[in-house]
């Protein structure tokens, strides 16, 4: 984790300065920094994110956007005191946009999941947890055959709901 320490050493003070200059606290800065690094980690490990732009402006842009969103959620008018003197090129905006779209997509999937019935959510949760299906069937007190059938029905229902939402959005 030497790389992570180096990222903190190089960029944490800058993010802290920016967030405090824009109505935040040091605690807010810690949260934003941690959340952005986690987002990048997840995209890199699960979605094969490959950075094709400089890391520093990319990180700063993501932190800045996340903080502005947080301010909006808190009902505060975002101010734009730019504490950074880093040039943010088009490639950085494009890559940040890509990451944002990936996150929006994941968000949509999870929102649709939450709209499903309790039984489906429970089955998919257990299934995704990686346990053997026989064990899940016993835990949920259903037969193995029923579990397999229901799991397919639930996944189909979820994918169908997401597909419909995406199709609806594309038509707009």
């Amino acid at each position: 984790m030497l790389v992570v320490s180096e990222i903190y050493r190089l960029y944490a003070p800058r993010i802290k300065h920016y967030i405090i200059a824009n109505s935040g606290t040091e605690d807010d800065a810690a949260d934003i920094f941690q959340e952005v690094l986690t987002d990048i980690y997840l995209q890199a490990t699960q979605k094969q994110l490959e950075l094709t732009c400089p890391f520093e402006p990319f990180l700063l842009l993501l932190c800045k956007r996340k903080w502005l969103n947080e301010l909006k959620k808190r009902g505060r008018q975002p101010v734009t005191k730019d504490a950074d003197d880093v040039y943010i090129g088009e490639d950085v905006f494009a890559q940040a946009e890509m990451l944002q779209q990936q996150q929006n997509r994941m968000q949509l999937f999870l929102e649709c999941f939450e709209k499903m019935g309790d039984a489906c959510k429970e089955i998919l949760r257990c299934y995704m947890n990686g346990e053997a299906q026989e064990v899940i069937a016993t835990q949920l007190n259903v037969s193995y055959g029923y579990l397999r059938k229901k799991k397919s029905e639930c996944m189909a229902g979820l994918t169908k709901m997401i597909y419909a939402q995406q199709s609806g959005r594309n038509k707009i």
Partner: protein, 246 residues
């Protein structure tokens, strides 16, 4: 438009197709762009859910490192040795709040009706597997239940629970049919058995047990039952929303 449904896609992805179906599906997949897109979406949704729900030790270790570094680089942040209790509480609060919002959107308690009516409304999901006598009864019971003919639903569900006492699905909806016909004293032992068991309906049973007391204006007992539902239960957000209203 593909002739294969989303359910076919799910069965294909799970390896549940027989050889003839599989051959037909893969033949279509080779040329059918719509099917290819839907399969890709299925796989993406599957991997997103895995990412969300599967234990990820590497991610946990990474986040622990971040918390430690936060303690070093941000003066007000939590100390490095602590697993960030403040953050955890805050995250839990945010999660609970988000879940409560989802719950509110789903149940729309502002849409009128008394507390019991607003929270007790549940749809029965058909639970059919083999097409035998029990399944025929379940199908019929589901229709009655979803048409709010709870007396007939209760009659059929009782037949099933009498013949298959371990059928928690039938037990749960039997209890709900009883509560909907104001037979709380009969419903409670069924709900209690479910709560004391390990089935998928354990905490839903606790929630509906609470509702039996709400219907009798016994808020103290209702709150006690709602308090038995842990945050990880899927019914938790709904339970918390009800608790707030009591």
């Amino acid at each position: 438009m593909s002739r294969f449904t989303f359910e076919d896609i799910a069965r294909y992805a799970s390896g549940d197709m027989d050889s003839d179906e599989l051959a037909a599906f893969e033949a279509a997949l080779a040329t059918d762009e719509d099917l290819q897109k839907k399969l890709a979406l299925h796989q993406e949704v599957h991997s997103t859910l895995q990412l969300r729900f599967a234990p990820n030790e590497k991610l946990q270790a990474f986040q622990q490192t971040l918390r430690q570094l936060n303690g070093e680089y941000f003066a007000q942040a939590r100390p490095a040795t602590s697993p960030a209790p403040v953050k955890r509480i805050r995250l839990a609060a945010i999660t609970t709040a988000a879940a409560a919002v989802v719950a509110l959107l789903i149940w729309r308690p502002w849409q009128g009706g008394d507390l019991y009516t607003r929270y007790a409304s549940v749809e029965m999901i058909a639970n059919i597997e083999r097409g035998n006598t029990t399944d025929s009864l379940l199908t019929e019971a589901t229709t009655y239940f979803n048409n709010k003919d709870y007396s007939n639903a209760a009659r059929l569900l009782k037949t099933i629970t009498d013949s298959i006492p371990g059928n928690s699905f039938a037990q749960f909806y039997y209890a709900l049919s009883l509560t909907q016909t104001n037979q709380q004293p009969l419903a409670r032992p069924v709900l209690l058995r479910l709560y004391n068991g390990t089935s998928i309906f354990k905490y839903d049973a606790a929630f509906h047990m609470a509702l039996t007391y709400v219907s009798e204006k016994n808020n103290t007992e209702a709150k006690t039952w709602l308090g038995k539902i842990p945050p990880e239960a899927t019914i938790y957000a709904k339970a918390q929303a009800l608790l707030k209203e009591l």
